[in-house]
Symmetry: C2
Subunit: 492 residues, 2 copies
């Protein structure tokens, strides 16, 4: 199913890409180093960039002869040197995501322009062939691209905690490199517009780059490509073909409600709200239908929640449904019909009641249906505001002390931090933010990665850390927390 | 040293490249064959072509989802299936000549156009990655290019010996694919303008494609890029940079004289002859100077003669010098000064005398300085016409019967066949032509290769038959012999 009106609007909102030329800061071989037959070098661009690489070489051959054979050049692009491994990859994700290029060049005197876009800080370059001539390094640069405008970001006050300054800087860089023609999840892989990622990217964007047109473009893309029943897709391919993804995730679909509410709060654009409200409302209807069909519980198979295979999602999913139903009610009060408002109120009661059944007042914690205690259950219950404020604060305090299944993705950790803040535990929230995201800095990350487990730093949902995305949109929210809750700057 | 007037004229003679779209005749997978994870196929284009490949695929993914990862495609181009080997290559020639391409495609729905020019009949295509989608074959074609115009070639008479018809056809195809912006030695490798190859290509061209402008362009390129002493280069790089090659070969330099004489005979263009005569004459001066410096013998280190490491080149080199001095005298009689004519007459006497010293009248054969008996010594002595006609015929008859070091390259075999014809042994010449070049057809060659030794069919000067050039200009002369000596058609 396609809604061409929305897709046309999305197309018209195609962003300008800002281009910057960046040269490596180290690793360049000396102008007198002759290379061939397996020689090579690794360039470090000093920071993470997304863009197009050009390499220029000179040719040296004894007797001043011309190059007499093609030149073979191998490139390997790394966001993080953890990718610099020769271990065979056996994971399920396609090997074609590894950022390698192997080219044969007929004219080694001409600059070599690679046509694909790469996401990297390092590039390892090798000349594998036994040519009768050698090459020497002349120049290399990347034409870096982003739809984020760095000049829009307000500087932090001079007295800001240096660790927060650093976390903010890396968050901005992470978000900048994920902002392309859409909000990509990761510019290395899979370069796709996911609703879960968009939700957090948009939140951070309102406090930083303020590219609201890009958020709107992405909302239109989702609204323009629903499944046949009106459920919004978990992700949209905007290239190579504009298409939705068949993978159904109710939590992602529901985040459209939250993303629309955030957009409205940031822009006050009532026209857009009226236009997209029916799509948002439809997500609540479908989630409620599924809730009813599953005996007043969540169909956990349709919820992502986190990259955490052992997680019992039953409670977190209900909290998530409830939180988004409440966002829907906020929107319904502005543009919905009386009947929609009434339905939502009714459904909020039903889901609240099911969620409260999972609360164990004795330990002041929520349990999954299996009895499992997880951070995920507590944070979504808190974000849903199902308990009274005082009880919620006690619950989150208990959560901080208890032995819980922990967040694996920074995406999940975001909600835990936000839950702490909304429960009146701002100091604890910022302490956690500093220790968790700061732990990534300690491990030398230039950008915030897709997955970070402090006790298992090489964790990978893909069978190899080399396949991880080391610049991942959903990990960029420290800037949002710092600017929203420390500086108390407004969005927009 | 550069002569920009000649280089400008060469540039102005840049040929038109004729383009033809060709599709494979077999090997195409069915439209329902799903491929990924190492699957692939080998296309056969039915005949040898030089050009640019495009591959078009369709994407199939369960659930009608879009392709969700880049597509890795590996191409291996083969002129001959002997190249389809996984044996590691350890020869000295650069591995970068192997016609491989390994690409990662962001848009697997779009036709994949490879930008390099390939020389091939077969292309092996493989999809190495474990993508979650499969591809199916849609289309593949090559945009074949050549500066040869097939419509210029006169058909052979209907009663022509079928083997000669076949040899002519394969010769034409071989020459066609070597005719690009210059007469290349081989379109797979090394795509260079060599004087020895040009000499034979031009001879064949006058009787077939009649692209005399291309011959002239190549003569200008050599005349425009001499070494500092005026010696012409053995080869010219016309790309990636226009430059001569430092490798000095006196026999190749002398063939400029023969090539100019042939051009004049074919075109009667006295203007070009006057313009290029000084460069041609200079080659005879330098060869004579070297002959004197070496005690009235040839400096064999500066002669190629054949790809035959055990060959004693001393006699063949003298015959070659003499043959080209006689061509020079023919030109001097038309455009040279009286002094040049007289010098050449004198020098012809000197070289003849040195060459005759190597003749053994008892066995009616020429011997190299080491005493070695080779086909090469006899053929160049015959082409030089150093004996009387009757004695020369007896010498070549003896050569046919004797145990001699044999030609390795068809380039050398050409001179042996021509020597037989010029010695009144046309039947023997054509019998040899049929058995030698016919032997290549028997071994399934589509084009005539760079090297062919009947008793050692996998011979390679490069340490591996996979590195051989299977479509090589200097092997195209059967068409010349058939059309000049059987049909007695004139050139031009």
């Amino acid at each position: 199913m396609k809604d061409d009106r929305f897709l046309k609007k999305a197309h018209d909102l195609m962003p300008v890409l800002y281009e910057t030329t960046v040269r490596p800061v180290s690793g360049m071989p000396g102008k007198d180093r002759l290379m061939r037959d397996g020689d090579g070098f690794t360039l470090d661009f000093g920071s993470h960039f997304v863009g197009y690489l050009t390499l220029a070489l000179d040719v040296k051959r004894p007797g001043d002869d011309a190059a007499d054979a093609p030149l073979a050049v191998e490139f390997r692009f790394f966001e993080n040197l953890r990718e610099n491994t020769d271990e065979p990859y056996t994971g399920g994700m396609s090997r074609s995501w590894f950022q390698n290029a192997s080219v044969l060049i007929d004219d080694p005197y001409a600059p070599i322009e690679l046509h694909r876009r790469y996401s990297f800080r390092y590039v390892k370059i090798r000349f594998p062939s036994n040519t009768s001539y050698s090459v020497v390094y002349k120049d290399c640069f990347v034409r870096a691209v982003t739809s984020a405008d760095m000049t829009k970001v307000a500087p932090l006050p001079e007295n800001t905690d240096p660790l927060l300054v650093k976390l903010d800087k890396v968050s901005l860089l992470t978000l900048r490199d994920c902002m392309q023609q859409v909000f990509e999840d990761g510019p290395k892989r899979d370069r796709r517009l996911w609703l879960g990622d968009l939700y957090l990217q948009a939140k951070t964007n309102y406090y930083t780059f303020k590219n609201n047109g890009l958020v709107l473009r992405c909302l239109y893309l989702f609204a323009g490509l629903p499944h046949d029943d009106g459920l919004l897709s978990s992700a949209v391919f905007h290239e190579p073909v504009l298409k939705n993804q068949s993978w159904v995730l109710h939590d992602y679909a529901l985040l459209f409600v939250g993303a629309l509410a955030d957009y409205y709060r940031a822009t006050g654009d009532i026209g857009v709200l009226k236009e997209l409200w029916p799509a948002a409302y439809r997500q609540t209807e479908l989630a409620y239908k599924s809730f009813e069909q599953c005996g007043r519980s969540a169909n956990v198979d349709l919820f992502f929640i986190d990259w955490c295979p052992s997680l019992d999602k039953s409670c977190a999913a209900l909290g998530m449904i409830l939180a988004m139903f409440k966002e829907a009610l906020y929107l319904a009060d502005t543009v919905g019909t009386a009947w929609e408002q009434a339905s939502l109120e009714e459904r909020i009661k039903d889901v609240s009641s099911a969620l409260l059944d999972m609360y164990s007042p004795d330990i002041r914690l929520f349990r999954g249906a299996s009895g499992q205690l997880s951070a995920h259950s507590q944070m979504w219950a808190a974000l849903a505001g199902v308990l009274g404020p005082r009880e919620q604060k006690e619950m989150m305090k208990a959560a901080l002390k208890a032995e819980l299944v922990s967040p694996v993705a920074p995406y999940a950790m975001h909600y835990f931090v936000e839950a702490l803040i909304l429960s009146g535990l701002k100091d604890e929230a910022f302490a956690l933010l500093k220790s968790y995201w700061g732990g990534m800095l300690d491990r030398g990350y230039d950008c915030f990665p897709e997955v970070f487990v402090p006790g298992d730093p090489e964790a990978s949902p893909y069978g190899s850390p080399a396949m991880n995305s080391f610049c991942h949109a959903w990990s960029c929210t420290p800037s949002y927390f710092i600017r929203k809750y420390m500086l108390r700057t407004g969005p927009g």
